[in-house]
Symmetry: C2
Subunit: 305 residues, 2 copies
């Protein structure tokens, strides 16, 4: 059998619309589009994290659907700039935290948000980045809240929040969902470092679910085993109802994939960089689809509403 | 020695500006910024390739510095739209080729460019993408030119240009430099598929040098062995003179790196996804720097002029 015949055999072209039944066996349940659902209330343990790039998406909906917001260093500048000269609107969307080494945060932005009640936490350490510092901050926030504790007065300005987190005993990990703006889509080294951290964080702290939001798509991790990805309907995130998607093996090893509910479903299909990569695929599952993978793999789904 | 001590030892913080001497041993010479140099003339065997995403950079300079231009399918729509209602300007920048399965190319765009002399080549085959079809077209173009031959009248509309290229005998490979617009920076699956093809093409046709141009950076391959990356001066592509950069191990294996002329130079430093990745580094070499790598690795350099 030729290479291209073998490829065709492992790829099944499906109708544009399919009804996929929920898996009966244990699985990871992933809901990437909760922030687009028709509820006006903040969702518990949902976080908005803004990194330092120009904001090109509808920020307000994320503020409305998350219960805390945090800016990584110059991310606060971008939030500030997002509102142009609309002072009234700007004052309605104040981040709960601003965290980082502050090599980018502008002094007038810092003063503004401090005056409005943001907690500003300087962490100078250079061997981790502002994104990781924010992750510690988010974990501490939920720990302190659930323990009815307040933030300590003095936090070591070198790496105090990492130290504080590491020093905590016992079952400190909470289930938290983090929408990250500007992690992917700007400078390519920053995009790839974000993806690297997505994999690493899932190993160290699988209780955190990260969703990178770009101008074009949402990016998240399918986890080793069976994944059931659901949504109310596809029109929530796709004008045409046939959103594009891809599965991207960026973790240094080949991944074996089987899918149920994609336009080009795969069966026991080996995906790796410098080999086959599923791109420009699309979603056929009406309200969900299933992917089984031999190890964690990045997925992206187009958002064009 | 702790992990972070070991990391520090292999990373050397350099001054912001360094003079790096050219390597005396054999090396790959890479010039990513030729298109920004102060010459008004097209550069021989330089190609502009436009993929199907909104064009957000200065397109004109690329037309001026390349000797042929090619649009992949709907890339022609984007070129057309780039000029808004300026008919006069639009008529000055006509692609030499439009190639693809034409599931995106709009009929009025096709007619317009055909009437202006573009060669429009329909290739229906679905098991390679429009980008790869364009790569075959580019290689054929230079082969035919150097052999003083013309394009055949009839090209099989399924996969004729791939067939034609494969059927050619002998030393058909020419040194060609291809600037690709819109390969990276839009939907993430498309970005990663582009990177995948960057690696694969370098194995199959190392005579092609690809440079992916985004709104933020240029992305290219450092090749196994010693790479000498040069430019007239850093202000050509960086307002500050200190352009950010990264080295991104996206090929399924750990890469050992040594660099000379970066802000954070590395020595025998193992880089891999789910491990260390050099991001948010910057360039200290005044007119060049050197990277030795144990295998091909993606590099990006910020462009902010």
């Amino acid at each position: 059998m030729s290479r291209s015949e073998k490829l065709k055999e492992q790829v099944i072209e499906q109708p544009n619309t399919l009804k996929i039944e929920p898996p009966k066996s244990p699985h990871h349940h992933i809901q990437p589009f909760i922030h687009l659902s028709h509820t006006a209330n903040p969702i518990k343990n949902n976080v908005l994290l803004i990194l330092n790039q120009k904001i090109t998406i509808d920020l307000i909906s994320f503020f409305q659907k998350t219960d805390i917001s945090i800016c990584a260093d110059g991310g606060a500048n971008r939030l500030y700039e997002y509102f142009n000269n609309d002072e009234q609107l700007r004052a309605q969307y104040i981040p709960d935290y601003i965290v980082g080494d502050f090599d980018s945060l502008r002094p007038e932005v810092r003063s503004y948000y401090e005056s409005k009640g943001s907690r500003v936490i300087h962490q100078a350490e250079q061997y981790s980045n502002d994104f990781m510092k924010c992750i510690y901050c988010i974990q501490l926030h939920y720990y302190l809240r659930d323990e009815d504790k307040t933030w300590p007065e003095d936090i070591n300005e070198e790496n105090g929040i990492a130290q504080l987190w590491e020093s905590l005993p016992g079952d400190k990990h909470k289930e938290v969902k983090i929408y990250v703006l500007n992690a992917v889509g700007g400078r390519f080294d920053q995009s790839i470092q974000s993806i690297n951290q997505l994999y690493i964080l899932n190993e160290s702290t699988p209780n955190l679910s990260l969703f990178f939001i770009t101008a074009s798509d949402v990016i998240f991790l399918l986890k080793r085993g069976k994944n059931y990805v659901t949504y109310d309907d596809r029109f929530l995130f796709s004008k045409s109802g046939f959103p594009s998607c891809g599965m991207l093996p960026l973790s240094n090893k080949p991944i074996i994939l089987s899918s149920y509910g994609l336009k080009y479903d795969v069966r026991e299909w080996t995906s790796k960089m410098m080999g086959y990569v599923s791109s420009s695929n699309s979603i056929s599952g009406e309200d969900g689809f299933i992917v089984e993978c031999s190890d964690d793999i990045v997925m992206n789904i187009e958002i064009d509403v």
